[in-house]
Symmetry: C6
Subunit: 275 residues, 6 copies
Amino acid sequence: MSVSKNTARATRVEEYLIKDEPYYEPVGQEIAVFEAAYRQQLPVLLKGPTGCGKTRFMQHMAWRLKRPLITVSCHDDLTATDLVGRYLITANETVWVDGPMARAVRTNAMLYLDEIVEARKDTTVVIHPLADDRRVLPIEKTGELLTAGPEFCLAISYNPGYQSVLKDLKQSTRQRFVAVEFNYPSAALEKKIVRRETGVDEAMAERLVKFAGMTRNLKGSGLDEGASTRLLVHAGKLMAAGIDPRTACRTAIAEALTDDPEMIAAVNELSSSLF
Amino acid sequence: MSVSKNTARATRVEEYLIKDEPYYEPVGQEIAVFEAAYRQQLPVLLKGPTGCGKTRFMQHMAWRLKRPLITVSCHDDLTATDLVGRYLITANETVWVDGPMARAVRTNAMLYLDEIVEARKDTTVVIHPLADDRRVLPIEKTGELLTAGPEFCLAISYNPGYQSVLKDLKQSTRQRFVAVEFNYPSAALEKKIVRRETGVDEAMAERLVKFAGMTRNLKGSGLDEGASTRLLVHAGKLMAAGIDPRTACRTAIAEALTDDPEMIAAVNELSSSLF
Amino acid sequence: MSVSKNTARATRVEEYLIKDEPYYEPVGQEIAVFEAAYRQQLPVLLKGPTGCGKTRFMQHMAWRLKRPLITVSCHDDLTATDLVGRYLITANETVWVDGPMARAVRTNAMLYLDEIVEARKDTTVVIHPLADDRRVLPIEKTGELLTAGPEFCLAISYNPGYQSVLKDLKQSTRQRFVAVEFNYPSAALEKKIVRRETGVDEAMAERLVKFAGMTRNLKGSGLDEGASTRLLVHAGKLMAAGIDPRTACRTAIAEALTDDPEMIAAVNELSSSLF
Amino acid sequence: MSVSKNTARATRVEEYLIKDEPYYEPVGQEIAVFEAAYRQQLPVLLKGPTGCGKTRFMQHMAWRLKRPLITVSCHDDLTATDLVGRYLITANETVWVDGPMARAVRTNAMLYLDEIVEARKDTTVVIHPLADDRRVLPIEKTGELLTAGPEFCLAISYNPGYQSVLKDLKQSTRQRFVAVEFNYPSAALEKKIVRRETGVDEAMAERLVKFAGMTRNLKGSGLDEGASTRLLVHAGKLMAAGIDPRTACRTAIAEALTDDPEMIAAVNELSSSLF
Amino acid sequence: MSVSKNTARATRVEEYLIKDEPYYEPVGQEIAVFEAAYRQQLPVLLKGPTGCGKTRFMQHMAWRLKRPLITVSCHDDLTATDLVGRYLITANETVWVDGPMARAVRTNAMLYLDEIVEARKDTTVVIHPLADDRRVLPIEKTGELLTAGPEFCLAISYNPGYQSVLKDLKQSTRQRFVAVEFNYPSAALEKKIVRRETGVDEAMAERLVKFAGMTRNLKGSGLDEGASTRLLVHAGKLMAAGIDPRTACRTAIAEALTDDPEMIAAVNELSSSLF
Amino acid sequence: MSVSKNTARATRVEEYLIKDEPYYEPVGQEIAVFEAAYRQQLPVLLKGPTGCGKTRFMQHMAWRLKRPLITVSCHDDLTATDLVGRYLITANETVWVDGPMARAVRTNAMLYLDEIVEARKDTTVVIHPLADDRRVLPIEKTGELLTAGPEFCLAISYNPGYQSVLKDLKQSTRQRFVAVEFNYPSAALEKKIVRRETGVDEAMAERLVKFAGMTRNLKGSGLDEGASTRLLVHAGKLMAAGIDPRTACRTAIAEALTDDPEMIAAVNELSSSLF
């Protein structure tokens, strides 16, 4: 059991600053739109499938705009209290501890709520006053009303491919955001990314990208999603570590995409035709 | 981790006072009705779609009536305790901390419960004694019975377009309120608002308002809601920051309204015909 | 944040005494029945639609019988603990704090549980030993067994028009009560009430009562309920503050009754024919 | 707010002793069976409709067997912890506080769990080791294993008329009990009870019993249950306080039985034919 | 309110030792199989209907193997924390308190989880590391990893007759156990048990066993289960206390088995033909 | 009640080191793939039925890579807090206690989340930042951002045979992992395992493996799963302890697989044909 004293510390904002430029290949005007929204103090919503670079884009923008990046992965059990903050009892006094949202407002950080539609409704609502032109965060438990500075920036993301009626963003939430759509990069761009991230040669990168395209065509015909760029990188990395291409594609791509024995066989067959 | 001592402080009501007149263009008799209800000590219910100015109206009325404005965004996990207040343990004593509702009554503030139908039933019921001619707030946990002064004012809002049977206001709640309906402003008024808020020229503002009207006609034919005035302001602000009109409309309006690829294409086509 | 010390205080029963006679117009034998039940130590159940005077009747009876009136608005999240009481930790000792039910028994008050069917089942059950001839309140957490004095009085209310199978009172609960039904007053009586509460003249009061009758006829044909006496009072008060009758009826009555655009139009048309 | 110190006190068992013989008219062998089960240390289950005397019977048996009677009204939110006991933090130490079940075992009391089927499943299961020949109560939180003395007695009750599949007692629970069925008393006996409890004369008692029989025939044809003996007593008491018989029957019986306007009219008509 | 200090005590394992041989009549190889599983450190699952001796068997095996027996009746609200242990705050320090599972591992006891399918899923999963060849109990809250000694023994039970799809044991749980099935004893054996436990004569015991057989034939034709051996013992004990056989069978067997009036009548008729 | 002081201790990582080589027979390239993923810092997902060696494989890899192995059995009630850590109040200070996930990151351990699909969604999401190339664990409650060293390794497992739509891994989770499928070993290999683990002779091991194959053919025709290798080991161990083969197969295999009387009979018949 590791134990650390709960002493008052200054917010360690430097921990959240990204020092080196994260590698990111733009696919459209997403960087310009994000910067315009940032200058106009409008919050941004990123939409797109898993593994196509939303998280990397946020790291890149945080580096580019020199803002600390505070990321929260949303889920069913994340409460407004978890986001805003809570009282904590210590031996000598009761202290208030900021959650990531209050911390981000106080430090003029970039706050990124990943997979927002997975959050409970109270999480979604708690961002409303921060996400319109009031740009305030009322902390009901302390009676404070934090006002966000011009450098504070709010971004949220989700994958519209998964949404059900139950897990849709309310209009009163989504109409507060400028929305940027993400998708898989072009073949040429994706090949470049795979080579740079894994070190495989051009021919292998090309075959991986071709293979990805085949699986993406199966979306809706047995697969929930096709292979993302991330999966190609995984396969490339396994090959770089000495695993043969077919085994790499089976474990990093086919088995990662689905549990359905017939679909796994189909994807493996596609892989056999290429590697 | 930022930490602040939990020492007794006077209610910082001045934080909630709105110093400068918030820009608001009346569309009907809403200001007169609100003032009459306020003078007669009747609570007010604002109905209308998202982004059509309900929050701005409340800020305007709070400024006009010189009342501090305490806003609560309602949601599923907001409890009566969150609203009324709770006991908090400190090292030396247990202190009672008012929630926004008790704080509003004690400071003769304007209490605004946004999206009331999202609240849990106990939140809805806890306002009953404040919302009829008793105008009291019983605090069961302390045994106190707060009586609201004549300047205290209660307002709630919701969007009737979203209501399902499950999320309807009970008759015993709604029959306690004077109800004012909000809607999109007239084209002329909306153009004026867009110009003032974004700085785009008259021709562009006119095209944006025309575009908004087209999307509002799609409500119920694929869109849950049309573009609100707020979305027009977003698009105008992106243009003011150098983004071309089509990209601005796509990211600030089309993608913000829906995730359906066909509807996005349809809305983008409307935009292409205008910009 | 307003903060108050949690020191032991005597129950402030005088706060709950009603000093001035609340205006109440009897519509039947409800006062005699209530007094008989009170003398025989039988609990009372009030049934009737919202806004027809149940709460006012309780205030009147509390004044008449010179009992402090402790009212609890029931809801889904009200626990037996909220009603009976709880332990509270302070710096020097753990103290027991009575909830409204224990407080009412100890002070021989009139305990009124409003909208009892909205309560959780445990709230309903916790009143059983108080509501039969045992007239005791066992406080399981302290091991105390409070015996109600002859002046203690229990009343509950609900609106039978809303009940679904899920929200029905159990026979084992309802068969413990003497049940009094409430309804809208006669036209003559209602006119008298509206005049006295709002100050509008006789002609206007008559038209308001006529209008109310029209909306009550729409109950079940598009409206969940017709306009209650309370809504007429609201409209009258808006008129008294200078709002024209049609706007007063639209905001205080039509929009308060329903969100359905067609029903609102229909009710407004009825109003146009009268005002 | 009334406040009492949480100091260690001896269990005040005498509070739960019933000093005067509670009036009870036996309808069958229930007294003999209960006494036999008590002598053989078998737990007892009472079945029957509301208001037919189960609670009074328990009070009578507790008086007869000279045991303190600890009654718990079961409900959805009653936890095993509520029944068994919990730790309580005070300023100087953490103390264990017995719940009613542990208190009953330690004081050799009669423990009566009313409406057991309303309890959560954990409440039902927690009685198993007490309800078979082990007769022990393991207190998991303290590691104690309480053994019940020969004078401890466990009884539970429910109304089989209400049971749904969801709210049935599990076979592993019910097969631990000797089960005694209760029902309405014979007309002669019921007349005797009504007279003794209300003071109405023989003719009126006879008419009330006749009226009760009529409503019992409506069970299943619009009424969930007929009028219990308790309701007759209520009506008689209202008459004794000066309310005319028809009003007494309407408020104490018809309105207490149902909210259905047609059924109320039907029951009132029956009443008019008799009174 | 009985109160006891929360001071550190050695685990009182002797309380859980069974001193006298519990009466148990084996019906098959269950004793040999249990002993083999115990020697091979395999956990055991007991299956069978209520009242057929599973609990008595565990008491017998605990006595035979000289292990303390720690029994937990499982239910919906039993958490992993309840089983494993929790931190408890006292005035001077925070202490860790073992739950029954950690207590059993530390004292090399026999841990018996009764009606395991009633437990929440986390209870089921928390036994996995103890129930395979790792035989460890990780205590996540303290970081401890308890290793069970060779004398520790785990047994669970349930009634397969009740299982629904929702309340089935997962294969990953059940495939960790050696499973022993229990059923009603043979007529000769059951007669022997009834005589020994109640003192009724041979003829009466024979008639009771015959009666039980008749009810067991009704299983699935109106009865959920037939009369268990335990119910015969109850009836015998009531007779021994002077209750006539028919009343004893009605209250101890017929009414204990079902609430259905027709089934009760049918079972009573069977009883009339025998007694 | 065993009680231990909550004093600060260094993380006892050595407890989680596996000293002796765990017996494991590879069935494919799983060891090479795991090692490549480990070197490339990619997390691994193990898929396969219960009892086929996933847990043993993890123990083997932990031994082979000389990493402490921290295993968490996932379930519905495991919270993100349980995994990451929590504040704990002591007499003198409030201390932070790492959960298994933070402990694993700090000690460069191998973290194994068994049956991940049983976990709540928040458990699944909390691993996202650790499972992609960020390899960080944000601890929202303390504001810390733990960065995993190159020796930290994350693995998860589940049984795809059980998955329902509700309990599927989200694509955004599964596309973060390299996935290795497990299955029953070949007959020759399984025979070798059974002999080594139980000590039964070759002929008996062969018959057990044959028997297992028969039950596996019944999967989907009445059995949810066939007998795993673990069940064969159980049966062999019972035989080694003197139980006859048919009883051993009935209790260790047939009754462990199913509660359906017909299926048990069918499996026992298969067993009779072999033993």
